[in-house]
């Protein structure tokens, strides 16, 4: 079945106000283009689930798309704090933000329980941490075998899980390499799954290396080709992270109005992410491109 569609149609069809959406990718394969499309369509009242901070959280907040974040590290990659998050928590400006916070291990456990459709997942963390104080999502359970006390977290099953990857076929078999984060688990945890990729490739490309497929077509609802869709984060073998942009963002984001202005100019004034990419100086994309470094092919054999 051909599940290829436009980014506009995928977001419009599956992401509705009030939903919980997961946009994962651990500093790599980050679904930035999908976040921009959510802002462009002005979808509101969302809860965003995500392990590590990325500057698109500032953008989604200033775009007034989010009421709540479920998160385990709210920094701007390695460039300090996410300023829009801080303003909303520290000064309730321009309005407050609900945060449901875990450690990385805790959020990994939530996605694993979600993907496995288990009622909870125990973790060896949290004894003595203030993170459990008054936290509805972290509770004590007793090991039925030893009687030992553990903390456990609830499954996380996003209404829509969105991931980015290097390539997929038109059916939605997704191949990725490099840092894989929680891409596979968050896809299996999601009720609907949108995949954006740098390239949609022929079926034969995928079938030449099936072990490279991290998400099978059977659980994918929409496949969208979005070159440069992870900028300013990296895509292994395609482009590097743009450190300069990430540092510049840390400065720009100190002023809420500057973020709003950035969104107006870069997202609301363009019809699509592809149009925005085309409007940037070609020099930017040339500088981020990487030199090919291929793996050795593996031999699958045939009878």
């Amino acid at each position: 079945m051909d599940k290829t569609t436009s980014l506009h149609d995928a977001i419009a069809k599956y992401v509705r106000p009030g939903m919980t959406i997961a946009l994962e990718g651990f500093g790599h394969l980050v679904p930035v283009a999908a976040a921009h499309e959510i802002i462009r369509q002005r979808i509101q009242g969302l809860t965003l689930a995500r392990m590590s901070g990325e500057l698109f959280i500032d953008q989604l907040l200033a775009g007034e798309c989010l009421d709540k974040i479920i998160i385990s590290f709210m920094g701007n990659s390695s460039a300090g704090s996410l300023q829009e998050v801080r303003r909303r928590v520290e000064k309730q400006y321009p309005r407050s933000l609900e945060i449901e916070e875990y450690s990385h291990g805790g959020l990994v456990a939530r996605y694993l329980a979600g993907a496995s459709k288990l009622p909870f997942m125990p973790t060896k963390s949290y004894r003595g941490s203030d993170m459990v104080v008054g936290h509805e999502g972290i509770r004590e359970v007793i090991d039925p075998f030893t009687g030992e006390s553990f903390y456990a977290v609830a499954p996380l099953n996003p209404d829509v899980s969105i991931i980015h990857a290097q390539r997929a076929d038109r059916h939605g078999n997704v191949q990725a390499w490099g840092i894989l984060g929680m891409q596979q688990e968050v896809a299996f945890a999601g009720r609907k799954v949108i995949v954006t990729v740098e390239e949609i490739v022929d079926d034969e490309v995928i079938r030449s290396d099936p072990n490279r497929t991290i998400v099978p077509a059977t659980i994918v609802d929409a496949v969208v080709e979005v070159p440069w869709g992870s900028f300013p984060s990296s895509v292994q073998g395609y482009y590097s992270r743009d450190d300069a942009f990430i540092r510049q963002w840390a400065e720009l984001a100190r002023d809420h109005d500057q973020i709003v202005e950035w969104l107006d100019t870069n997202i609301h004034a363009t019809a699509s992410y592809a149009e925005w990419v085309a409007l940037q100086e070609p020099q930017r994309w040339r500088e981020l491109a990487v030199t090919p470094q291929y793996s050795q092919p593996v031999n699958y054999g045939s009878r």
Binding site: H28, D130, D243
Partner: protein, 269 residues
């Protein structure tokens, strides 16, 4: 040698031919002598472990928070998720393998951590500054993997760029990552399998403790620093080791390797 902006401790009257960050990196690298498997998160530890590989601990394996181990990067990574770490690496793990099998599975000997506040037993705050959790004076990035690193690594080394009474506190504003000493005071959850913080490396000296119940003691003081300065910069009545030593100066060789590793001064800011 290129011109380097010296970032001295404001209370310190001495001038050194190296920056605080260079000193911290060298000291942290030396502490890794003989260690095998080290976990490195964002920042300075990335550089310290790279230096250790070229000096005291050629065999040391780094496990990065992004899931990479056995990295052979062609240039210094700019973040733990930098793709340059992946090209030529021996293994890339997903998050379940990293957090459940490597960390909870007790495969890591030493974990590096940073924090906004630390107390005398090595409990850490990386979440909130201020007394009101719902409206904090400062909202920091939070745990990331710090809670798991503290609970599951054999021991934890803490690197603090600035040693002040606001960061070395009698009482944390919020405890993100509890020491085993603090965990023992609570009734629920499994006890951490690791020993907690055993070393704290700052711009003034090195503090050490023997888990589970010993306090941090000043065991090494950096060149030109007075004991009284360290005590003043610590928010509790700091114990001083009877066999207190002065940290050996970074050698020219250590500094040369370090400056070559980070020639763009990504971490040596």
């Amino acid at each position: 040698m290129s011109t380097i902006e010296l970032q001295e401790h404001p209370d310190l009257a001495v001038s050194r031919p190296y920056t605080n960050t260079e000193l911290l990196s060298v000291v942290a690298a030396r502490e890794l002598a003989g260690r095998r498997v080290v976990f490195a998160g964002h920042g300075l530890p990335t550089l310290a472990v790279a230096l250790a590989q070229q000096t005291v601990s050629p065999e040391v394996e780094i496990v990065y928070e992004s899931g990479i181990t056995g990295a052979h990067p062609q240039e210094l990574p700019r973040a733990v998720s930098d793709s340059v770490l992946v090209s030529g690496a021996e293994c890339v793990m997903g998050m379940p393998a990293l957090f459940n099998y490597m960390l909870q599975g007790n495969r890591i000997e030493v974990g590096f951590l940073g924090a906004a506040q630390v107390d005398r037993y090595g409990s850490l705050n990386s979440s909130i500054i201020g007394s009101d959790v719902d409206a904090p004076a400062a909202r920091l990035p939070g745990s990331g993997g710090a809670v798991e690193v503290m609970a599951n690594c054999g021991e934890a080394f803490l690197v603090m760029r600035r040693h002040t009474a606001r960061t070395f506190v009698e009482r944390l504003d919020y405890c993100t990552s509890p020491s085993p000493h603090r965990a023992a005071e609570h009734a629920t959850g499994p006890m951490p399998s690791g020993r907690g913080v055993t070393r704290v490396i700052t711009d003034l000296g090195i503090m050490s403790r023997e888990p589970p119940d010993e306090e941090l003691r000043l065991t090494s003081i950096h060149p030109g620093v007075q004991v009284e300065e360290v005590r003043r910069a610590t928010g509790w009545d700091l114990q001083i080791a009877a066999d207190l030593v002065t940290t050996p100066e970074p050698t020219e060789s250590e500094l040369a390797i370090l400056r070559e590793l980070d020639h763009d001064r990504v971490y040596l800011r």
